[in-house]
């Protein structure tokens, strides 16, 4: 069965420094992987997706993620954090058209 593991429940960075949110996946076949963001009291917004095209995926707001099959990882990065990036981030794997399986989430804290 497909699953994702987010390795950090909280990540704290200073504004202007790089962001790294880690995610490992488990899948019996080539997965579709996503990162979603949830700002406080808001819905889920798609940041980026990987669907077996380019392994480096660029998303909105300067985020990108690299699919590494050898490491079964799909880490989310951003070169320079902004205060508005503070939110909960979910790594997600798709089981096909049926459903998405969410990780437990990583709360990103950005300090001035």
């Amino acid at each position: 069965a497909q699953s994702v593991t987010q390795l950090d429940s909280h990540v704290s960075v200073s504004e202007g420094t790089p962001v790294l949110l880690r995610c490992n996946y488990s899948s019996s076949y080539s997965p579709s992987l996503f990162w979603y963001v949830q700002h406080p009291n808001k819905g889920l917004q798609l940041l980026l997706k990987y669907t077996s095209a380019a392994t480096l995926v660029k998303g909105i707001n300067g985020f990108e993620a690299e699919f590494k099959k050898s490491e079964t990882s799909f880490h989310l990065t951003k070169p320079s954090a902004h205060m508005s990036d503070a939110a909960e981030y979910f790594c997600v794997v798709s089981t096909g058209f049926q459903k998405l399986v969410f990780g437990t989430g990583t709360r990103l804290l950005v300090s001035p």
């Binding site: 808001k42 819905g43 889920l44 798709s94 049926q98 459903k99």
Partner: protein, 115 residues
């Protein structure tokens, strides 16, 4: 930009009452979903719906729950005889086969509070 809309944004109900959560998926999408997020926990899949029938459901989605697409635009989740543990944020989502199908667009959620 098309979006999934959910109503109401917040609903408070007494234990034992029935609630209906409403969603308008993105027009022309073919797959519809309900997910829930209990406070402080991860987002959990409840049910997927395609071609006017349930295509998959989780163990959470027992006889207390039902879904319906009563017309061409709405998609509803009914919870009969609500329990305290049903308190959660409920998200509706939809996806489109033609864009790869696996990307789901989520609504803003309905926060259900059972008292």
């Amino acid at each position: 930009e098309p979006e999934v809309t959910q109503t109401p944004s917040h609903q408070v109900t007494q234990m034992g009452q029935e609630v209906i959560l409403r969603c308008v998926p993105i027009s022309n999408h073919l797959y519809f979903y309900w997910y829930r997020q209990i406070l402080g926990q991860k987002v959990e899949f409840l049910v997927s719906f395609y071609n006017n029938e349930i295509s998959e459901k989780s163990e959470i989605f027992d006889d207390q729950f039902s879904v319906e697409r009563p017309d061409g635009s709405n998609f509803t989740l009914k919870i009969r005889s609500t329990k305290l543990e049903d308190s959660a944020m409920y998200f509706c989502a939809s996806s489109d086969l033609r864009t790869g199908g696996t990307e789901a667009f989520f609504g803003q959620g309905t926060r259900l509070t059972v008292v």
